[in-house]
């Protein structure tokens, strides 16, 4: 849709003109906004919640990314409250293709950013990158399911490695 917008425009906007706010909630009303308004604790949800709480309407910059991916952004399970899980899911959902590439290549900026989100120390990063490449087939299968499945596969793989298990609570 973004490409169409560029094609249709006969004027050269100095600023990228964004889409109107599309309140497309995916699935059964499960979107970042909805989960956050259900009062979860933990730092990360509250960051987005803080921003989103300026209006009662969920801000849709997360929505439109997910909608364009055709995938649900977050699972609807309200019991998951782990801070890093939320941040992880948001980043993964918005960067599936970049992460896939970096994992297959065993290196890359998006994979490094994910490592930061997960709090992985510098000395453990080589092991993390290596694991990503080794388990790529598994991750790719999960990624076809959903971002949440990809994160679950990532967690499982890390649990099996002594150097990385400490990053999974």
């Amino acid at each position: 849709m973004k490409k169409m917008l560029l094609l249709l425009s006969l004027v050269f906007a100095m600023c990228v003109v964004s889409q109107p706010v599309l309140a497309e909630e995916t699935g059964a009303g499960c979107g970042l906004g909805k989960i956050l308004f259900e009062g979860k604790s933990g730092k990360s949800p509250n960051i987005a919640a803080a921003i989103l709480n300026v209006f009662p309407i969920p801000n849709t910059f997360f929505m439109s990314t997910a909608a364009s991916m055709g995938e649900e952004l977050l699972g609807c399970d309200p019991s998951t409250t782990v801070l890093q899980e939320e941040q992880k899911r948001v980043f993964v959902a918005a960067n599936m293709d970049n992460l896939s590439r970096d994992m297959a290549q065993g290196n890359g900026a998006h994979l490094a950013a994910l490592a930061t989100v997960m709090g992985i120390a510098d000395e453990d990063r080589p092991a993390f990158y290596q694991m990503s490449q080794e388990e790529y087939g598994e991750f790719d299968r999960a990624a076809s399911d959903s971002p949440a499945a990809m994160v679950a596969a990532l967690n499982t793989a890390m649990l099996e490695r002594p150097a990385l298990v400490k990053y999974i609570q």
């Binding site: 600023c15 990228v16 003109v17 109107p20 509250n46 300026v54 590439r101 290549q105």
Partner: protein
């Protein structure tokens, strides 16, 4: 005893008005009628609000540049002030948009209220946090008499983000697309603990128009005339990187600002205030770059960078304003996917390049033997190249994943993951000249020449922005983008009536000529519209209003610095000189553009228009122009031309200086 019971009604009668007054004020505050609340406490010595108002007026806080910056007041056309903000709820007074003093008083009143400011759920102290913080600094609120309200959402946000710096991000020209040729600017809030790759986790504050129509003409008119609203939004940087560097293939320049923690805090608080309100969006003036400056003004108002702009506001000019005021600490570069592909391609040998293209076309299975024959590192590099091609094409074809291309991507990544080596980071060198260091936007021309009508003085002016013969540094890409170009000739020995000839007045000139190669297939195109003279002779001053343009293809000759363009031009013109008052012609167009070192450019071009409508006369232009850069903002140009106007062929030549300012 009886005295008390006698006095009681008297006491009540005295106390009652005071109590009703208190209830009155409380009610007004609850209702959010702050104008009335200010009225209510007028003259009331013992009210804290009255005391604050009196001190604020005595200190003339309503005239303070900080107050004007936070409320976005500008001098009105007929005196007084008008705020650029167009959302009602940004003001606590009904007259807030045009009355800074009243807005100050009602803002103070609103701090006594807990009523959420619509459409948010936040109380006024929290909603207008920058104003509250500043007024508290200046007036020293007594927490006993003006209780501090909670602003937990902001506090949580602030503590999670841990902002320590601000960066102005400049996604530059989008090659081959008119809708973003001037670039864009946004502000990134730099978090403690983020650096390098993790910078993409930072948040950005972005101002953009929100178009409610996609219809071309309505879109154009509304965008120019303030028909769209513009809003600030907070978006993670990785989302913006995808949008600009990947989907639109724009190089990104990150101007890290040299600012104090206090500035960072104020700017963030002000951004918080601006969320949820709106401005009328004007593409030339009150656009994204302008609002980056108005946002930074929350603490940097003393530099008055906004005041430097009278008329159009271009992103690169706002970057220059920041640099000129010593606000730029350092600049980083984030290459687009397009540039990354070009860099990666250069790293491969010819055999690997060809194998990568073959794999892109056919998939990795078919070419597995050839791949296996390569050393692991080279095999990995080849697969990385093939993957880049596939992904670039997938994004180019559409936003939504195209099934065959996605399938191909998966195949490639699975094959790649089996080669257990890590790809080395791709270093794309930062261009030596930054966008703010390129030639200045406007151009003045003065020179001498001669043609069939005699010797002339050449005078010219161009408003914005860049032409291929202008100094290339700082302007990435093969393009020309001009608004407002005027060329005049003054003939001192002019015949009788006419001394001054308008050679051309172009309103818009757009030209894209990215070269095609075995992977990149962009069609070149150009369009020019304006007024041109149709006769060579000076005394025949007939002008025509014209639109000319057409598609073409550009090739890079060898691997060298020469571009060759071949295309088809068409022109439609309206003017009294033509038979039937109009002209339509079409024909071939050719150009050769050569870089001779860093400082010298040569362009040879020609076009021929065969008259196809009522006026059958052919017209043509053959020109050679060279530009020698004498400095960043000065060039010496020589031009020769052979033209066929309605009055036949003529030859002309001139020498001139271009000065950019």
């Amino acid at each position: 005893m009886w005295m008390i019971s006698a006095l009681l009604p008297v006491l009540l009668m005295v106390a009652a008005p005071a109590m009703t007054k208190a209830e009155g004020l409380a009610e007004l505050l609850t209702e959010g009628d702050y104008d009335a609340a200010v009225e209510e406490v007028r003259g009331e010595q013992d009210r804290y609000l009255a005391e604050l108002i009196e001190r604020a007026l005595r200190l003339r806080l309503d005239e303070d540049p900080r107050w004007h910056a936070l409320l976005h007041y500008r001098k009105g056309w007929f005196g007084g002030y008008v705020s650029e903000v167009d959302g009602e709820n940004f003001f606590t007074s009904r007259r807030g948009k045009t009355d800074p003093q009243q807005e100050l008083l009602t803002t103070l009143a609103s701090f006594f209220s807990t009523r959420p400011v619509p459409p948010s759920i936040h109380n006024p102290q929290c909603r207008f946090l920058a104003r509250y913080t500043w007024l508290d600094q200046r007036l020293g609120f007594d927490p006993e008499r003006l209780p501090e309200q909670s602003c937990d959402p902001y506090r949580v946000f602030y503590e999670a983000v841990e902002p320590i710096g601000l960066t102005v991000v400049f996604p530059s020209t989008h090659p081959n697309s008119p809708s973003s040729m001037f670039g864009h600017t946004l502000v990134r809030v730099d978090s403690r603990g983020h650096s390098g790759a993790s910078r993409m986790l930072d948040y950005t504050i972005n101002y953009a128009a929100e178009a409610d129509t996609h219809d071309g003409v309505a879109y154009a008119i509304k965008g120019l005339a303030g028909g769209f609203y513009g809003r600030f939004r907070i978006v993670p940087y990785h989302v913006k990187l995808r949008e600009y560097a990947q989907m639109e293939n724009r190089d990104i320049w990150e101007y890290r600002l040299k600012v104090s923690q206090e500035t960072v805090d104020f700017v963030l608080m002000h951004a918080w205030e601006l969320l949820g309100t709106q401005f009328d969006y004007y593409f030339f003036t009150e656009n994204c770059s302008y609002h980056v400056l108005t946002l930074l003004e929350a603490d940097l108002y003393e530099y008055d960078m906004v005041g430097e702009f009278h008329g159009w506001v271009l992103p690169t000019d706002t970057l220059r304003a920041l640099a000129r005021n010593g606000l730029v600490d350092h600049v980083d570069y984030y290459p687009s996917d397009y540039r990354a592909i070009v860099a990666r391609r250069e790293r491969l040998g010819e055999a690997e390049r060809q194998l990568a293209r073959a794999i892109y076309r056919d998939g990795p299975e078919v070419h597995a033997p050839r791949l296996a024959a390569l050393p692991v590192d080279e095999g990995a590099a080849t697969l990385d190249m093939a993957y880049d091609y596939v992904r670039y094409r997938r994004i180019e074809v559409s936003d939504v994943m195209s099934p065959e291309l996605t399938k191909r991507e998966k195949e490639l990544l699975i094959a790649r993951s089996r080669l257990r080596v890590a790809s080395p980071p791709l270093e794309v060198p930062q261009p030596g000249v930054r966008p703010d260091q390129g030639h200045d936007t406007a151009r003045f021309t003065v020179g001498l020449g001669g043609d069939g009508s005699g010797a002339f003085i050449k005078l010219g002016w161009r408003g914005v922005y860049h032409d291929w013969l202008d100094p290339a540094d700082g302007y990435a890409g093969n393009f020309a983008l001009e608004f407002g170009r005027l060329d005049l000739r003054y003939y001192p020995d002019g015949l009788a009536a006419k001394h001054l000839k308008l050679d051309r007045l172009h309103l818009i000139n757009l030209d894209n000529f990215e070269p095609v190669d075995d992977f990149f297939h962009r069609i070149s195109w150009h369009v020019t519209t304006g007024v041109e003279s149709v006769y060579n002779a000076a005394e025949k001053g007939d002008l025509s209003f014209m639109v000319r343009g057409g598609p073409g293809l550009t090739y890079r000759l060898g691997h060298g610095p020469t571009l060759a363009y071949v295309g088809l031009d068409g022109e439609f013109a309206y003017g009294g000189a033509f038979r039937g008052d109009y002209y339509f012609g079409a024909g071939p167009a050719l150009a050769l553009k050569k870089n001779l070192g860093d400082a010298w450019r040569l362009e040879v071009s020609g076009r021929y228009l065969a008259g196809l409508a009522r006026d059958p006369r052919d017209r043509a232009v053959l020109a050679a122009e060279q530009s020698l850069r004498l400095g960043t903002d000065v060039t010496l140009n020589v031009g020769l031309g052979r033209k066929r106007g309605l009055d036949g062929w003529t030859t002309e030549g001139s020498v001139w200086l271009n000065v950019y300012y």
